[in-house]
């Protein structure tokens, strides 16, 4: 992925303009068609529909009362709802914590596993394992680990501190609940970023390291002046992917905290599902999804800017 991006954007040589013959155009259209049809059917159309639905009072299931066009009423209500702002603040908080936690962990393990360790591939597999485990399963297991006051985490903390650390109500205390979700999520998903980093590390040519060695650079300087610049596009990619994923936080909340306690783990997606499926307000939920789309779009635009600035 990373390699592809760097090669495609560095080689911006223009292809020679060729006269289009009809047969070729037909061929191109035929090859594009499946993708265009699928994208339209499953991506563009649903989005347009949700934008339309967002401006109505469409209920989840058909009702005797008429569906009305309410213009931007849903949006106004969402912006007036404290809970929505709490949800937005919470995902921002989550994102702010998860990026250093998850990317840092992924980077560290990738550096470790890039060394010529014995059983390197086995270790890579092991570290990647949580990423392919279903989040639902992970949540159920961690739910037990987090248990208050007698769960394993509390027992370990109590044992290590000789009883000085009081049991923590990981999921039941508004101060701790989001942090607990960060821990769990970082652990579950860092394997993906780790693989990306490993690919990035393998993309740095060995000659650069050899040259640096000849120039007398020590391990730290080699890391700082060869590895880090070589990983720039990887860093940006990982950062952006992690941010977008973080904004979509839902499963962990739905299974472990249901948005509580005291809305401390309410997220935008959870807020949307709650409005759409529990309160059966599809129009309102669609409006939330449109807002989420705009937020993610902004992040994606920032990504483009960053990529350009780093000249990759």
């Amino acid at each position: 992925m990373v390699m592809q991006q760097s090669t495609s954007s560095t080689s911006v040589r223009k292809a020679p303009v060729r006269r289009h013959d009809k047969g070729r155009a037909m061929q191109e259209a035929a090859m594009l068609a499946p993708a265009v049809v699928l994208l339209t059917l499953f991506l563009i159309l649903p989005f347009l529909l949700s934008f339309w639905t967002a401006m109505t009072n469409q209920p989840l299931v058909p009702r005797p009362t008429p569906v009305r066009f309410v213009w931007f009423n849903n949006f106004i209500r969402i912006f007036q709802d404290d809970l929505f702002w709490t949800a937005l603040w919470n995902v921002s908080r989550f994102t702010f914590w998860i990026i250093p936690a998850q990317c840092g962990l992924a980077f560290a393990t990738a550096l470790l596993l890039h060394q010529k360790l014995p059983f390197r591939n086995l270790l890579r597999g092991m570290f990647f394992l949580p990423a392919i485990t279903s989040m639902v399963v992970v949540c159920v297991i961690w739910g037990t680990l987090f248990q208050y006051p007698t769960g394993p985490f509390n027992q370990i903390l109590g044992f290590l501190s000789g009883g000085a650390i009081q049991p923590i109500d990981w999921l039941g205390d508004p101060q701790w609940a989001m942090f607990s979700l960060v821990l769990l999520s970082a652990w579950q998903a860092y394997g993906f970023q780790m693989i990306v980093y490993l690919a990035g590390l393998q993309g740095i040519p060995d000659e650069l390291y050899d040259a640096a060695k000849i120039d007398g650079a020590n391990a730290f300087r080699r890391f700082w002046h060869v590895t880090m610049p070589g990983l720039r596009p990887t860093h940006v990619f990982v950062l952006v992917i992690t941010t977008i994923q973080a904004f979509k936080l839902y499963t962990q909340v739905a299974i472990l905290t249901q948005g509580g306690p005291k809305s401390s783990t309410e997220t935008v997606v959870h807020y949307m599902v709650r409005a759409g499926f529990e309160e059966q307000k599809m129009g309102y939920a669609s409006a939330v999804s449109v807002i989420l789309f705009v937020i993610v779009l902004v992040i994606a635009l920032i990504q483009r800017q960053l990529l350009r600035r780093f000249d990759v």
């Binding site: 009072n57 209920p59 989840l60 299931v61 058909p62 009702r63 005797p64 009362t65 008429p66 209500r77 709802d81 404290d82 809970l83 248990q147 208050y148 006051p149 109500d169 990981w170 999921l171 039941g172 508004p174 905290t257 249901q258 948005g259 509580g260 306690p261 005291k262 809305s263 401390s264 709650r274 499926f277 529990e278 309160e279 059966q280 307000k281």
Partner: protein
């Protein structure tokens, strides 16, 4: 040659016979929830029903309790409604208003209809046309369970009937005394362990608001603002917030059933009637059943449970009705429900349940049904009403401002009603 012909004839006629038999079977779909015990019990009832009606095939659709309404919505949208569906009583108005259910009276055995208790009729009746849309073997209630040993240690008064239930002051005095008693970790378990997004919250805590003199929604004007966010409701929630803050309530993360867990860490339990069977099994004679306290001028207790209805789209409403009647009369099913301390919704079932008979250990729970039971608002906006209230309770239990939380909930409810043009004919002058 002749033999071969004969064989093929025999074979084909046998095939046709089985095909005809298969085609004759009418399938009815039954959507339900329930714990594993009940699911197994339904399966056995269906076997007996099929044995008695060989031309019927009962197909079950299991939908877990927590996502039942979501699953039902999916069935509606896919136009695959079952013939028979179990539903939670407070959601009845929403389903009938939306046009999914049909009146059930002509389809159910008459002796069963005559056998229904008052509150059972109430939970299955749609308030607009006053017609019956669902029936159940059971109803439900919440009582205050007490640990006799602890209550005697603090010299608490033990009410003998619903009429002399504890008052607000008495109740709080006892909670405070219990909090200082040796062996009591928490004075009361209100089953917060069920989670912050379960019907339990509206079901069990709603009556505390009603007892304190307010309600989730005004039941004449069908407006929540001015009622749910009134001072009476805010004070009632503030009172519960105080219990939590004082550490008197079992925290959510400590799980449920602390009342009868090892060592009895909770002295009281605000629990459903279904808690009794298990509690009595571990606590034996040490358990007393008390009516819910009076938090204002009058007492209030919840009612309503999962009941059976027939959908409007059912192709075989008569068979659906026959199955429901069979289920409610089935002896083995009844004895299973009785063993689970099932709360009677039929008079004959009450007679079979010594638990609830006068003098029985749960007699007070049954007495509540006729004296203090208040149904949850029978209004099509109920899904929003309950969701908004749950949100407010979670907010307040974790330190939020009661007035603010309730105002936000009331706004949400009124907005939903407004979005649906007031859910006519609700809210119109009648």
């Amino acid at each position: 040659m002749g033999k071969r012909l004969l064989w093929s004839l025999v074979l084909s006629s046998a095939l046709t016979a089985t095909w005809v038999q298969a085609a004759e079977k009418t399938a009815i779909q039954v959507m339900h929830q329930g714990d594993p015990g009940f699911v197994a019990a339904y399966g056995k009832v269906a076997e007996r029903f099929e044995a008695a009606n060989p031309d019927v095939d009962v197909q079950f659709i299991y939908a877990p309790h927590d996502a039942y309404n979501e699953k039902f919505s999916a069935a509606v949208m896919a136009k695959q409604l079952p013939d028979v569906m179990e539903l939670d009583a407070p959601f009845l108005a929403n389903y009938v208003w939306s046009g999914y259910l049909q009146p059930i009276k002509p389809l159910i055995d008459k002796d069963l209809l005559d056998d229904m208790t008052e509150s059972n009729i109430a939970q299955g009746t749609y308030p607009i046309d006053k017609d019956l849309y669902a029936i159940g073997l059971t109803d439900s209630s919440v009582v205050l369970y007490g640990n006799k040993k602890y209550l005697e240690a603090i010299g608490a008064r033990i009410p003998k009937s619903v009429d002399d239930a504890w008052t607000w002051e008495e109740f709080e005095t006892y909670l405070e005394k219990l909090s200082k008693l040796d062996g009591v970790k928490w004075p009361i378990d209100t089953f917060r362990g069920y989670g912050i997004k379960t019907e339990w919250i509206t079901y069990a805590y709603g009556p505390i608001l009603q007892s304190a003199g307010c309600d989730l929604i005004d039941r004449k004007a069908w407006k929540s603002g001015g009622t749910l966010d009134s001072d009476a409701c805010a004070d009632a929630l503030a009172m519960m917030q105080k219990w939590v803050k004082n550490g008197w309530v079992v925290p959510q993360s400590a799980g449920t059933n602390q009342f009868f867990a090892e060592g009895n860490p909770a002295a009281l339990a605000l629990g459903g009637h279904w808690v009794y069977a298990e509690a009595a099994a571990t606590m034996k004679d040490n358990i007393v059943v008390l009516p819910l306290p009076k938090f204002g001028a009058k007492g209030a207790s919840p009612d309503g449970t999962w009941i059976w209805a027939i959908t409007k789209t059912s192709a075989h409403p008569d068979i659906a009705g026959k199955f429901i009647s069979f289920l409610l009369k089935d002896k083995e099913f009844r004895s299973f429900v009785a063993s689970q301390s099932g709360y009677p919704g039929l008079k004959s079932f009450a007679a079979e349940s010594p638990l609830y008979a006068p003098g029985g250990p749960m007699a007070i729970a049954f007495e509540q049904a006729s004296k203090t039971a208040v149904a949850r608002p029978p209004h099509p906006a109920y899904p929003t009403i309950t969701s908004a209230f749950m949100q407010a309770v979670d907010e307040v239990f974790n330190g939020g401002d009661p007035k603010e939380a309730l105002t936000s909930a009331a706004n949400k409810i009124d907005q939903d009603i407004e979005d649906n043009d007031g859910y006519p004919p609700f809210g119109e002058e009648q």
